[in-house]
Amino acid sequence: MTRITAEVCTSRVSRIIILLMCIPLRFAGADTFIVEDARELSALNVSIAVFDTGVPEDLSLHRDLQVFPQIREIEAMFLPFVLRETLVKTTEWGAVRVVPRPDVAAELLVSGTILKSDGETLELRIRVVDASGRVWLDKAFVGKVTDSHATVGSGSGSPGYQQLYDEIAESLLLARAQLEDEVLADIVEIALLRHAKQLAPSAFGDYLSKADDGTFTIHRLPARDDPMLDRIERIRGAEYVITDAIDAKFQELHAEIASIYDLWREYRRKVIGYQAEDARRAQSTKSSAPRGSYEALLNLYDNYKLDRITAQEQDSLAVAFSNEVGPTIAAMETRVAELEGWVDTQYAEWYRLLEELFEVESGVEQ
């Protein structure tokens, strides 16, 4: 290790500390710190990652399964926000945020995969893991819309499916109720330490132990007044502000496309109804014309034609839906990418500064 004189050290430490101290000043007034300080032990922060689209890789299956990949991509960004709103309404949690990619250091990370979404049925596989690696939930939730549930134009993006989101929220509360306060407190500590380890592995590399099953336990804790930990918390506060800005973008997206999405879902629901009706009609109204006659042949051809025209109509309306919401999605993705890019750049800088600072602080010649 380089030998550092006390004078040089003081100068470098001061410079780095000033840089790190600047972080929260830039975001003065952010709610995040207040939430952190005031929340109850059970009110863990929840990060909901953008869902997996669940689109099969085999392109040839898309038509059979009636999966519209572009629409699934929109739903993958849109549906997590509906879950976020449901969790916020329970007032049982800390900050609930939609994040563009899974954050392993989140206190509670919710991941989801869209298994089915056809307007009539929404099926989601939801997996919830806390910072210690404990799996809270890993199951499929199914919501079905009936005529009495369907409320076109509500603009909520979830008419008829609210029950599904409520079930997820309820399952989360049940899972949390199984855990002791100490366990919840540990989750918060572990989340912070995992974050600290990511940012300053030299300083925080040995505070956690990882078991073979991937779960983390606290090996030892840093001192309460550890200045390095204080810096990590400040950085995390700054990151939260950016995450909140990204979350706000998902909120804007939801507000802008909720009504059109409701319309799309209602359309899809009706198509399914019509298809069932057509099948019944085809069964019950077989042509009475003599077999082989022009009327009988035309009837066979027209039945097929009707089915195909309905399918084509669906395809073209799926494209129309993508056309309509495309610019909104593109604008949001650009802004989120900018914010993420900023965080990535800052993260690299913070990482460098913290490692340097740790080296300086632990390498000072007394």
């Binding site: 038509r63 082989g292 022009y294 042949l297 089915d307 309509e324």
Partner: protein
Amino acid sequence: MLRISFTVVLLLLLAACSQQPVISDERIRFERRMPANFSGSWQRNYARDDEVNAVLRDAYNKLIRTLPDQRRPAGSGTDPSASKQMDSLLALARLAELITRPDVLTISQTKHEISIARKDDFAMLCAFYDGVAKAIENDNGTEICGWIGNQLISNLVLRGGLQVTHRFTMSTDGQQMRVVTTVSSTTSRIPFTLRRFYSKFERPTSDFNCIETFSMKRVCSTTEIVR
């Protein structure tokens, strides 16, 4: 793969019921790229088309040759089965004429699909994934395509023993196209075939850029539309 095999078996079974051979297994495959590109707008060249009545007359003559001897004792009337065959052939001819009526075909071809849009009818769809044809199925029938050299074949097998086959062949300069449509049924001894000819044309460009939207339907602008 299992699905494709199932589809092929299903088509063979359906074909067995409807007399006509379907596209064979080797014809639903191709290497790398599709053998021909039919993309574009095509308008009917009526001057070269088959004349329906003439084709029907030829088909009648052919049918008569396949029927048992029609010379029956005086007063016994026409053989009812022969009369039924005549009616069946006429029904096929009427259906073939109806199906081949559109005067413009708009063909879009991508890496995986060929869509042939027709006025007042569904767009025929040929889907190929990894060089293998994928059948389009619904409760009333199955549509599958294949290639014989540069010739595209679309085969529609309907419930009730009706089958419609289109063969698309393009001229070497890519400006002319021939579509041979064959309609067959288990109720008729012989199929009915009609040829239609098309010439490629360029659709006039519009001063407006338009897109379809879900809630506002067609939206047009004189400037470029952001998608």
